[in-house]
């Protein structure tokens, strides 16, 4: 097991390198100028050139990349061009906020998705199955930013029950686990949970449905095992695949919530990324994409290892 973990960890290195190259190059391809964020639009060409030199943007791309990677190796992700603040502080602060939102959404989505999936798988081809399938398809199909806006109109604007934006009355730095702050989390977390509910429910439904038709399940019933015990066996058999789907979903939740974080003004990595894109803030953009991509890679690693630990049929060397 340890050898497997070590091998996977070593494989992460070239992936991380590839990710860093892609992160760096992708943001260079986009048209636009990062100086737009920090200079008046009518700054002269001479002033722009001087500022370009200050930020090292006048150097050839390979040199810029080498400088960036060398600094990265020392834990320095550079400074945001737009704000002047260290990228590491900006990114990790935002990732923490996104993690809070992603885990909250996962805490809502995964139990509901698993429950609905099992329900549909167990009662396959019944009205319950069809109802769950309809819910799953709706969850996956409805644009979640639109749903977010609708929820804001209902629960914030019309009913006034929940806040529509921000991470608490004093901002994310004052976050506390009390209702005053947690109420800010409700709408974005519920909105973000809708897609993974659908995906997890459909996955678990398919898995449970298939496993329930397998011979060993009949054998377990024939042995006189109770329905609950049989379902526990079914769950264990489905767990490995379901876990990998949920792991990927958690990665998507963290990195793919740009629209939700924008709709709810949630100060997470998606919101940061969206601002960095519009401002062509290259160091911030590179840093945020890199951290999110590496998080995704790490998530895959954790899921692979967890799968091997859960399912003895998965033999790794």
């Amino acid at each position: 097991m340890f050898a497997y973990f070590l091998r996977r960890l070593i494989l992460v290195m070239p992936v991380a390198f590839g990710v860093s190259v892609i992160c760096f190059l992708l943001v260079q391809i986009a048209p636009g100028d990062p100086l737009t964020a920090i200079m008046p639009v009518d700054a002269t060409a001479e002033e722009q050139a001087a500022m370009r030199a200050v930020y090292g943007l006048d150097k050839p791309l390979p040199v810029q990349y080498a400088i960036w990677v060398a600094k990265l190796a020392q834990g320095d992700m550079g400074r945001s061009i737009a704000s002047g603040r260290p990228v590491a502080g900006e990114v990790f602060g935002a990732v923490q906020n996104s993690l809070l939102l992603a885990l909250s959404a996962a805490a809502i989505a995964f139990p509901i998705g698993i429950f609905l999936g099992f329900l549909a798988g167990y009662f396959r081809d019944t009205p319950i199955d069809r109802a769950v399938t309809a819910i799953s398809i709706a969850g996956v199909s409805v644009p979640n930013y639109w749903l977010g806006i609708v929820l804001v109109i209902i629960f914030s604007v019309n009913l006034g029950w929940l806040p529509s934006m921000g991470a608490g009355p004093g901002g994310s730095q004052d976050w506390a686990w009390d209702w005053l702050h947690m109420r800010h989390l409700v709408l974005p977390a519920v909105t973000l949970a809708v897609v993974p509910i659908g995906i997890v429910a459909r996955t678990v439904r398919a898995l449970a449905g298939d496993i329930l038709t397998m011979d060993f399940v009949q054998a377990l019933y024939a042995k006189g095992m109770s329905r609950g015990d049989v379902l526990r066996h079914v769950a264990r058999n489905a767990a490995a695949t379901a876990l990998s789907v949920m792991g990927l979903q958690l990665g998507y939740l963290l990195g793919g919530s740009i629209l939700i974080e924008t709709v709810f003004n949630w100060p997470g990595s998606g919101f940061l990324l969206s601002n960095a894109i519009f401002q062509r803030d290259l160091p911030l953009l590179q840093g945020t994409i890199l951290v999110l991509a590496l998080f995704f890679v790490a998530m895959n690693l954790v899921v692979d290892v967890a799968q091997a630990a859960i399912d003895p049929r998965i033999k790794r060397t």
Partner: protein, 533 residues
Amino acid sequence: MIRLKDSLAALALTVGMVCAQGAAAQGTLRVGMTASDIPLTTGQTDQGGEGMRFMGYTVYDSLIEWDLSSADKPSVLIPGLATEWMVDPDDKTKWTFKIREGVTFHDGSPFTAQVAVWNFDKLLKDDSEQYDSRQAAQGKSRIPAVASYTAIDDHTLEIITKSPDATLPYQLAWILMSSEANWETLDKDWEKVAAAPSGTGPWKLESFVPRERAELVPNAAFWDATRVPKLDKMVLIPLPEPNARSAALLSGQVDWIEAPAPDTIPAMTGNGFVVSSNAYPHNWTWHLSRLEGSPWNDIRVRKAANLAIDREGMGALLGGLMVPAKGFLPPSSQWFGTPDFEVKYDPEAAKALLAEAGYGPDAPLKVKALISPSGSGQMLPLPMNEYIQQNLAEVGIEVEFMVVEWNQMINLWRAGAADASVDGSQSINFTYFIQDPFTGLIRHLSCDLIAPNGTNWGHYCDPEMQALFDQIKTTFDPVEQDAVLKTTHEKFVNEALFLMVTHDVAPRAMSPKVKGFVQAQNWYQNFSSITME
């Protein structure tokens, strides 16, 4: 008896405290800004006009400021940290400024002529200890006339310009003064200053969380007693997404939002919210290419296009939040003048002019126009440009759009009409800050500012216009200078040098609890008069 006396005294004290609170405590104003981050706090702000509005003229002052006290007349320059200024009659490059006495920064240090010099070095002298590239990026280009500066004594500042330039006072209205003492106390580190800045302005920055909120409290010792804020606190919240901004206001999370989306305004006014707007120096135009071969070189074509636009009809598209253009400057501008060419909707006259220029149903004029789907100050560029496309098609001008994202649009604007990147486009839809003679008129058409060396996108160059620009710079009497500015603007309109479409009205929506706001005809505003009911 003693008990009764004590009780009465306690009651009197309580009543007194309540009354005092009632008089002093005027509440907290929470503002949803369109910016995505808190503007730079160290002095010279970023985030364009909004940065200056909320973090510039609130926390800081400049030597010369804009009068923001009236909604009814255009803003003019007034004394700020300088009480008076004059140019040497024998040497028109030498200016003397009398520095206001008794002004202190929020940290208690005095503002003097030496501190003003230190601030100019902060922006212009890149080998000075206090030089800050971030502030320089914002401020240097605003004072192109300044050659040198000296503190004659504590309260006298001398500025020498590169050449005689009567627009210097307007340029200085951009430059905000930070505290040298505060910078020294904070280890001469601008990053630390950003967290604890010190200006002389009516508001003090109490705290801020990057990208999330900034809290400003009144500076009770502000030098102008009439502008000491009445509120207890003003909270600035970046809310770049228009729907999120509107929802935050409608759900009571903020009391004021900048730039509500036009389609949300009926819902706001229907729910008792107040929408404030006013004319201000902004325009929405097509800047025309004057390169050889451009169809816009023909004055008949330019006039025809201007006569083809149904500006009143466009008002419905914008929820009425616009001032139809009658010229390049808003009709209320002090420099509007009395142009002969009337900018109005007259498609028949437009067709006649086009026919005279050799275009007609069988030979339509084809033009290519650069536009963006969004952008700072661009209002609703896509539907507005499509509306114009339809209007122009009705008189025989076929428009092909080249649509680029806003950040790239700025690059193409800087590059100019002759650059290959604009791909032969003959106009660019770029909105302009037109608050002073330079930003309002000179920079767009001056021969020495042809792109990419300046902001004359269309490569226009006319000796007659250049002479007027020179005259603006060498007319030091403000009244006479205003007359030259009027003549210049009349030439802009009479020769239809732009496709003049509309002016924004800076709409802002606010809770009915917000009282006392006077929306000046300016990009900046005074928040000191506001109270919360």
